[in-house]
Structures are given as C-alpha cells and as structure tokens.
C-alpha cells in the first residue's frame, strides 16, 4: 500500500468537518487502537485545527510512541539471552525460529531452548525448525520442568561460547497465576547462569483490547523489553500493538508477516501508522 494511501488523500482537504473527524474516529476504532487512545488523538487534533487532519493524526500517534531503540539487544563479549513469552497461539515458536535465522544470517552463533514442555508436539515443532535452519535446540523431558530445560540450555550456551540463546516458552493466559509463576521461575533459574537481556512479548496482531491487559501482566511477572506483533500479513490493522506500546512504554521491535522463516522484519513506525490509517 502506498504511503498514506487513499485515506490520506481523502483527508488532505484543508478544513476538517465534523464528518471528517467522525470518519477518522471510525478508522482508528476499527484499527483496534482502542476508544481511549482514539478519543485522545481526536481531542488533540480538534484543538489543533490543523491544515491537514491526516498529518496531524499521524503526528500524534507517532508522538505517543516510544523513542527507545527498536533493535534486538546484543551484548559484546558474552552470551545474549532472549526469553520469548505470550498467550497461547500468538506465534512465539515461529518467531523464535525466524529470529534465530535472522541472527544466524548476521553471523552469530545461536542456540534454542525448547522450554514449552507442556503443549502436545511443541518440542517437536521447535526441533523441526532447528533442523530446517540448522541451529541446535536444547530439549528436555516431555512434561518436565521448563525451568530446568532453560537452565541446561543457558549453561551449555554459555560454556560453549554461543552469541545468542533464545528460549521458547509455552503459551499461557495471563490470568493463570500458577503458569505466570512458572514463567518467573524460568527467568530466575536462567539468571543463576547468565543474565536475561531481552524478554520479547509476542502479541497476535489480530488481538483486540485484551492485548494491553496481557502485556501488563507479562510485564509485571517477567518485565518485558520488547513487543513482537505477528500475523500482520492478514486483514488486521494491528492497532493494538501501538496501544500496547503507548500503555507500557515498551517498544515494538519486530513484526511477523507470514509463516515462512524469513517473514520477520524490524518495526518502523511511520509506514506502519500510514498503513493503519489506510482504509481497506
């Protein structure tokens, strides 16, 4: 889609009528950005009486986003450890494989840990990815303790001089205390061996307002450092990712756009916002 698309041409007229504003409200709501964020933007835009409504809206969205680095952390001279978390089925395992492949392509030595010991065939799924992209995967016992798999992997990755360890974890709803506690144990146990440098929260791009609640809960338990939005190759606008970044002040770092291993890119706000404002 072209930058700013049809929607923007439509709204590039000089003075905005209440109908124009309403149309904007509709586009924003339908992007899953949420009512609160929408009304905040509309209020700012109305006050501004700007020449171009469209520019004004994108500027305000941009301003509400984080200015933190959107790159995946790399620690010099020691192992960089990345923990991947999120609710069920959002695309964690696939993202782990994609990210590993990306880092490997940059010349890094990467190891994976299959710490989802719960879901049927989760270990096999990651192992299959590992074979495809030729990256070692540390696995444990089925229904074993995820923390102990992560611990073993961390020990090995550290001793064998790997650059990156990426830990895949089981999907869990943020409302389940025992499962959230299990996750925080994974973190604690790994940190006995090596610091965790990055905690990526994987958010399904089709998610509605629940996304913010999810992210907050995960942030409380394992302090997330980045957001990955997946499935943006579909018809969803993925506005929830922006709303989540705004609410948590945690940057969106990566975007998943397909089931293939190379369908992962870094997040760039401007074209994303433009796309969001483009009517279907």
């Amino acid at each position: 889609m072209g930058l700013f698309g049809s929607f923007l041409t439509k709204f590039s007229r000089s003075r905005a009528t209440p109908e124009d504003i309403d149309e904007f409200r509709k586009v924003l709501i339908e992007s899953d950005i949420g009512t609160e964020f929408t009304e905040e933007i509309i209020k700012l835009v109305e006050r501004e009486k700007s020449e171009s409504l469209s520019e004004s809206v994108s500027t305000h969205i941009r301003a509400s986003l984080s200015n933190q680095a959107r790159l995946i952390t790399k620690t010099e001279g020691r192992l960089t450890t990345i923990l991947v978390v999120g609710v069920n089925g959002t695309g964690k395992t696939t993202t782990v494989a994609k990210l590993a492949n990306l880092l490997k392509g940059e010349g890094s030595k990467v190891m994976l840990a299959a710490a989802d010991t719960f879901r049927a065939a989760a270990v096999e799924q990651l192992s299959t990815w590992g074979e495809r992209i030729e990256i070692p995967v540390v696995v444990g016992k089925v229904n074993g303790d995820p923390a102990s798999v992560a611990f073993d992997a961390a020990t090995r990755a550290k001793n064998e001089g790997f650059d990156y360890l990426i830990i895949d974890t089981a999907g869990r709803l943020h409302t389940k205390n025992n499962l959230m506690e299990e996750l925080s144990k994974v973190r604690r146990v790994v940190e006995k061996v090596t610091p965790i440098d990055e905690v990526l929260f994987v958010l399904d791009g089709t998610t509605g307002q629940n996304g913010i609640t999810q992210a907050k809960s995960f942030a409380d338990v394992v302090s997330i450092t980045g957001i990955v939005v997946t499935k943006l190759d579909g018809s969803t606008k993925g506005g929830i990712a922006l709303a989540t970044e705004r609410a948590l002040k945690v940057p969106i770092k990566l975007v998943g756009t397909g089931e293939g291993v190379s369908d992962l890119s870094s997040f760039v706000p401007e074209p994303y916002i433009a796309d969001l404002l483009t009517q279907p």
Binding site: K176, Q209, E259
Partner: protein, 472 residues
C-alpha cells in the same frame, strides 16, 4: 485503565438504579456507556452501532411501561439482555448428525485459533456421548501439526488418520478424502477433520480449504475463532464465509478475561450460531455455547447457571442432603465433611475458574480475591486432611505435636502448614455455628483454603437450594 465490558455494564446500570424516574436523556447516557463498553470489549463498530440504536428504540417504545415498573433498571436490563441473547444465537443449537454415518465435521480458522486442540476436545466429547470418532490430520503445513494431533488423539484414545507426515509435503485434500473412506470402511460414525490455519486474505489457502470442503462434504463446517480477537473478527469471519462457507462458530480461549466481543460481532454479521465454547488447554475444557450464559457474562451477572450445574455434577445429592441434615440437627461440621467437600470441589475443576463464573467476578475487588486463590493449595490441603486418621478428622482437638508431625510427614507438608489448616478449620467451624444460630445456610466457607471470605459470594446458589426446600 481498560474496564471490562461487564464492569462497564454493571456501572452503567448502577447509575441507573439510583434514579427515580428514567428520562430519555438517562437513556442516552446509558446507551453511550454501553457503546463504549462494547467497543472496549472488542465488538465490531458496525455491530455496536446497530445494537445501540435497537436498544434505544426498544427502550423508548417501552418507556411508559418501564416507568410503571418498581424496578426500572431491571426493565432496561432485560431489554439489553434480550437483545444480546437474540444476537448471540437465540436458543442453543446442537451438532447436526448425518442421517447416514459418518457425520463429518471440518474445522477451519486463522492460525493459532485453537483448531487442533478443539479437534482433540471434540473427539473426547463425541466419544463420551457414545460415538466412535475418527480424527483426520489434514494440516500438512504447520511444523508437526500431524504429531500434535496424533498425540492428542492418543491421549483421548481416539484413532488418528494420518497418512502423511506433513511439514510442507502431501496433499490435504487427498488426506481428507481418504479419511472419510477410512471412516466408512472401518465404521467410525463421526469424523473430525483438522485443517491448517489460514488467513482470510490468502486466496490460495482459501481455495484449498474450499477444495477440502467440497471433497468431503461436511455436515458441519466449524469456524474456530479466538475469543481475544478484535475488530478484525468481522472481516475474517466474512472472508471465511465467502471463501469456504461455514455452518457454525466455535469460540476458544474463553478462560481468559476477554469478554467475547467477537461472539457478538460474528453472530450478528454472519447470522451463524455459536456452537461450542472452548475454555482451557485441557481436553475437558469444552462445552456447548449457551447464548443466555454468554449474555449474562457480558452483562456482569456471572455464569450462575454453569456454576450451579457443575456443583450439582460434583456434589452428589445424597451427600448434600446428609450434610444439610447434619447441620439442621446441630451436629458439628468435621474434617471428614471437609474432606468430602474438598474432593467434590476438585471434581468441579479449578477453584479460580469456578469463581470466574460468579456475579461481579470482574470487579476489581473480586478479581483480587480470585487471583489470591491458589488452586494447588486445594491439592495440598487435601493431602494434609487425607494423612489424618478418621478419629483425628472427627475430633481435631486430639491433634498433639507428634500427631501433627506425623501428618506433616505423611502429606509432604510442613508442621506450620498443618497448624494453619487446623486453625483455619476451627475458625470455619465456629463460623458455621454462628451461621446456624443466625439462620444462614452452611455454604462451604471452610473449603476455601486461601482463606478468602467467599462465603457471601457463594450464597446465591445456596439460597436457591434453601428456597426450594421450603416449598417442598
């Protein structure tokens, strides 16, 4: 902070409840509350607008009646509820079985929505109803989707037809077709076909789904959708309806705190019934979808019907009656009784999940209490009580230091934990006595090992029982 749909609704109605006489502008205000609540609850914008204008219309038409009522808010509440139930599908529908077996059920939906897990749940559900289901592994795309289904089939003891290993090779249409043949020649009466996740905008994969469908001609094509989905629900549902065509909807991951806006969007836009509700990762976390229950959940009335049903399933009539008689006769509630209740509660499933069904479960205060409930503690508590002798259970006063040590060792807990339990039990026993003197009914206060005072919240269910008894 984001308020849940049911919180919003409850607060809107609380405001209304305080009013003497409802005016048209009150109605506008409440409609606006409901509008925002629905949007925050992920109902599609177009659906929200239609819903609100109908509520407004109906309420205005009924305003003279409403004003005559002694409980005006209740009247409006009924209108909202009726409208919700209507959209959510009216009376609950059941699966349509083929006249000539096998009955073929095909699953379709977005990536990660819960299709494969649902296949396992459905297989177990059908099997428990006396059917002979066959699972067909026609997702040859996602890495190890075939392995996943095979493992699920094994765990519920249902045969899985998996002629292709998948992982990017093989023809799903051929697999689906051979699955039906296999079922026919081996006399399976139901077939569940799992398919790969696909996007509504992916033409190639939509065509593939249509090809699978026309090859096997299913009795039910189920669109499986994640309850957490946002505004895209309506677009995606339409794309699946146009691209594949489906007969009914299954809502998954309802064990989360998403309020089910998607249910409303999809039911309203496609006019399809929502058939099943999937609410957990365990294969038993599965039930028919009840529009009235969902409407109550959205309205913040809690899922009392489900709760009562589960309680009835778990606590057998005999033991409930015995407990009641005991109570009336003025006998003490012992640790024996407590153990019985604990076991019954564990049969009902996780404590926190049960509490989710209570009215007001979404209020911040209630939320905090629910979060404080530790399901594992039920297990630990049970272990402690089980390690006591029957004599000790009947008369905990004989529990001296060495007995307590023995119990701690036997249950793998600490003496402190044993002490705490005994203490809490005595407190509960005392409470029971007070309640008896005050005329209350013995709920299960002693059975809440977290120590959270849920006695009050549990009472509506219990009260019903008591009322029935009086009538008898």
């Amino acid at each position: 902070m984001f308020e849940s749909l049911s919180e919003r609704f409850s607060s809107a109605f609380t405001t209304l409840r305080g009013k003497g006489r409802i005016s048209e502008s009150d109605l506008d205000a409440i409609c606006e509350e409901i509008r925002v609540a629905l949007l925050d609850g992920d109902v599609a914008l177009a659906v929200v607008n239609g819903f609100i204008s109908r509520i407004r219309e109906r309420s205005i038409a009924a305003l003279p009646e409403i004003r005559k009522s002694t409980n005006q808010w209740q009247e409006i509440h009924s209108i909202v509820n009726a409208e919700l139930v209507e959209i959510l599908g009216g009376p609950a529908r059941r699966i349509r079985f083929a006249k000539n077996p096998p009955t073929v059920i095909m699953l379709a939906g977005l990536q990660g929505s819960g299709k494969t897990t649902l296949a396992g749940k459905l297989a177990l559900f059908l099997k428990e109803q006396g059917n002979t289901p066959l699972l067909v592994a026609a997702d040859l795309q996602r890495p190890n989707a075939v392995t996943q289904l095979t493992l699920l089939g094994e765990s519920v003891g249902v045969k899985v037809h998996a002629p292709e290993p998948g992982n990017g090779t093989g023809d799903p249409v051929a697999v689906a077709k051979s699955g039906i043949e296999f079922a026919k020649s081996n006399f399976y009466n139901t077939v569940i076909v799992d398919t790969a996740g696909r996007l509504g905008v992916d033409e190639e994969l939509m065509n593939q789904a249509r090809d699978i469908k026309s090859a096997i001609n299913p009795n039910e094509t189920l669109f499986v959708v994640d309850a957490m989905i946002g505004q895209d629900a309506i677009r995606t549902a339409q794309a699946f309806e146009d691209g594949v065509g489906f007969d009914a909807v299954v809502l998954t991951k309802l064990d989360g705190d998403a309020k089910g806006g998607a249910a409303l969007s999809i039911a309203e836009s496609t006019k399809k019934a929502i058939l099943f509700a999937s609410s957990g990762e365990k294969l038993t976390d599965f039930d028919y979808f009840y529009p009235d229950r969902m409407a109550s959940r959205i309205l913040g009335l809690g899922d009392i019907t489900t709760l009562a049903e589960q309680a009835k399933k778990a606590i057998d009539e005999g033991s409930a009656k015995r407990m009641e008689e005991k109570f009336i006769a003025g006998e003490d509630f012992t640790l024996e009784d407590f153990l019985e209740q604990l076991q019954a509660m564990r049969k009902m499933g996780s404590m926190s999940k049960l509490l989710e069904m209570l009215p007001g479960a979404n209020s911040a205060a209630m939320r905090k209490q629910i979060d404080a409930v530790d399901d594992d503690e039920l297990v630990r508590t049970q272990a402690i009580v089980q390690s006591m002798t029957p004599g000790e259970r009947r008369d905990p006063k004989i529990l001296n230091g060495s007995r307590r040590l023995r119990i701690a060792k036997g249950s793998g807990r600490t003496v402190t934990e044993v002490n705490k339990l005994v203490e809490r039990f005595s407190a509960a026993q005392k409470m029971m006595k007070q309640m008896r003197n005050g005329g209350g009914f013995p709920g299960m206060p002693g059975a809440f090992p977290g120590g959270a005072p849920f006695g009050g919240a549990m009472r509506p269910v219990q009260r019903k029982k008591k009322a029935k008894k009086k009538r008898r």
